[in-house]
């Protein structure tokens, strides 16, 4: 056993234990860790946005290099602060509207490409997709199952009719496919979380307590 003499390792280890103590119940150690975590995160965010966003991308070009075009984003950004002035607080809707409009508009081509076009391409029964399974002659079977799953899942998310009759049957099949997908995702993610836990325990037993290498 070779306990660390590095004070930062001790800080890290004690905060880790304080956060883990939440598994027992809410307690003063968890409260301290929680409040410091939130405070440090906010302090870090302020300095990060100041040094990495505001200064290099706005203040430097505008005030040091005199690029007057940057006055536009500067004024739009400043409108966020009008929320603190009740008489003109409605002006805050302008930057919110601009950022929402821009990001939603910009995401439409990417979302259409990734979530519609590519998905359709991958679901079609075609020789290319049969081979993509790398399952020989079984590729066609898997492709058919996938197609049925996609069609039934689409029917589950059809909101314009009650799920009765044929639509009721297909939507029930669809939700089965959805749940199978969730089960696989759940197992996969739990494995990833366990590996994170192992990482923290290794940190406590290794760099802190020196029990393991």
């Amino acid at each position: 056993m070779n306990i660390s003499s590095d004070p930062w390792v001790w800080v890290s280890a004690l905060f880790t234990i304080a956060i883990f103590s939440f598994l027992w119940r809410d307690n003063p150690f968890y409260k301290i860790a929680e409040h410091i975590f939130v405070g440090v995160a906010n302090g870090w965010a302020v300095t990060f946005y100041w040094h990495n966003v505001l200064v290099p991308t706005l203040f430097d070009p505008l005030f040091r290099q005199g690029q007057l075009l940057f006055t536009i984003p500067f004024v739009i950004g400043m409108l966020y602060l009008t929320r603190f002035m009740p008489r003109v607080s409605w002006l805050v809707r302008i930057p919110i509207g601009i950022s929402m409009g821009y990001y939603v508009g910009a995401s439409i081509p990417a979302v259409s490409q990734a979530l519609i076009i590519k998905q359709i391409q991958g679901t079609l029964l075609s020789p290319h997709n049969f081979q993509a399974w790398h399952a020989g002659s079984m590729g066609i079977v898997w492709s058919i199952i996938l197609l049925i799953g996609v069609l039934c899942t689409l029917s589950y998310f059809y909101f314009s009719k009650e799920h009765k009759g044929i639509l009721g049957t297909t939507s029930r099949i669809g939700i089965v496919f959805v749940m199978i997908g969730f089960g696989a995702a759940f197992g996969y993610t739990v494995m990833a979380r366990i590996s994170l836990l192992i990482g923290r325990i290794q940190y406590l037993l290794g760099p802190w307590l020196g029990i393991v290498d």
Partner: protein
């Protein structure tokens, strides 16, 4: 000595047919240079690419490995450039003839994405059509969604128990569709809280979402005639750090003991932490997100879960706003079209595998 002999042997044949052209279907600012590989390609050290804006003074702008015959150069639009490609063998260099001048420019239309334009126009057109339909007062049916029926019960339970309601919109930004849908549901939940005088707790991870949510909650209280009941401290910003936010909301769940937790919006890895903590306090939990990777945790740990698009439909169902109802209707027809494309495309695909058409020859 050996290098010199080898260089002489191969004569370091220069690259030929250097061709520079504006990259098609891009936003400008780039020229592509292609060349035919040197005959001594397999022996070369590398290729070097030189550029000139007057045809005489060339400067090196990049290198490529042997076997490579393509290079994209960042350029200034509207300016002519000349290029040479150099075959390099150790210290020996062999220059190609200069390329013809090339000039970069931006294109209005990316022809490789015409299918996306068609998809956007089709789905957008459907949505606009149904929005107009709804605005003209035509009723648009949207089926019942299980999780929504529970909202009234959940608010009622909190009122009876004299406990607050926690509404967590996740860690998304204002441009995330799930966050927008969540804010719409928040408005309705806030109205019920105003009506029943139930305390609402609404912690936020993003300052802009917080700003919008505050206005929405305030407006909801005013709509139900209870502007006095709005507590400005009930909607607040915590931090934009994902796990610090999760730690803080966990603390709220344990200390305030809400009777109902709404976890509706855009979530990532904190979803399970929040849902499990909420479940351990015995609160009714209604969750909803479009993040497929987080839905399994909500399905496992919450009483009701709005899965994916149910979240969008929920906001339309609750608010009955023509804009949202029209969008849901348009999306439904979009699904019908996608289904039809899948079936028709698959039939055609199968015919190519099993040549049934041959039977009719």
């Amino acid at each position: 000595m050996a290098f010199v002999i080898m260089a002489a042997f191969f004569a370091i044949a220069p690259p030929t047919a250097v061709h520079a052209f504006d990259i098609p279907d891009d936003g400008g600012g780039a020229i592509r240079i292609e060349w035919r590989l040197s005959e001594a390609d397999s022996q070369l050290t590398r290729y070097e690419i030189y550029r000139s804006d007057n045809g005489t003074d060339y400067e090196k702008i990049g290198i490529m490995g042997r076997g490579r015959n393509l290079f994209d150069d960042e350029t200034e639009d509207g300016k002519q450039y000349y290029y040479k490609v150099v075959a390099v063998f150790d210290t020996l260099k062999s220059f190609s003839d200069p390329s013809s001048p090339a000039m970069s420019s931006a294109q209005w239309l990316n022809r490789k994405k015409i299918n996306i334009i068609i998809a956007v126009i089709t789905f957008g057109g459907l949505i606009l059509f149904f929005i107009q339909h709804a605005r003209h007062g035509k009723s648009l049916f949207v089926r019942r969604i299980a999780g929504l029926q529970a909202i009234d019960d959940a608010v009622g339970r909190a009122t009876e128990m004299g406990k607050p309601i926690l509404y967590c919109p996740g860690i998304g930004y204002i441009e995330d569709i799930a966050t927008i849908a969540s804010l719409s549901i928040l408005g309705e939940v806030a109205k019920k809280c105003g009506q029943y005088d139930t305390k609402l707790i609404n912690p936020h991870c993003d300052p802009i979402v917080y700003t919008v949510a505050r206005e929405i909650v305030k407006e909801s209280y005013t709509d139900v005639g209870r502007p006095d009941a709005f507590d400005p401290d009930s909607v607040y910003y915590v931090t934009d750090s994902q796990f610090a936010y999760a730690a803080a909301v966990d603390g709220i769940m344990l200390r305030e003991r809400p009777a109902t937790n709404f976890l509706v919006g855009w979530f990532r890895a904190e979803s399970l932490i929040l849902a499990e903590t909420g479940a351990s306090t015995g609160a009714i939990q209604i969750a909803g997100t479009d993040q497929v990777s987080q839905l399994p945790f909500f399905v496992t740990a919450c009483d009701y879960t709005l899965i994916g698009e149910e979240l969008y439909a929920a906001s339309a169902y609750i608010s009955r706003e023509p804009l949202l109802l029209g969008a849901i209707k348009g999306e439904d027809w979009g699904k019908v079209i996608i289904g039809a494309i899948l079936i028709a495309g698959s039939l055609i695909g199968l015919l190519t595998v099993f040549p049934i058409l041959n039977l009719f020859e």
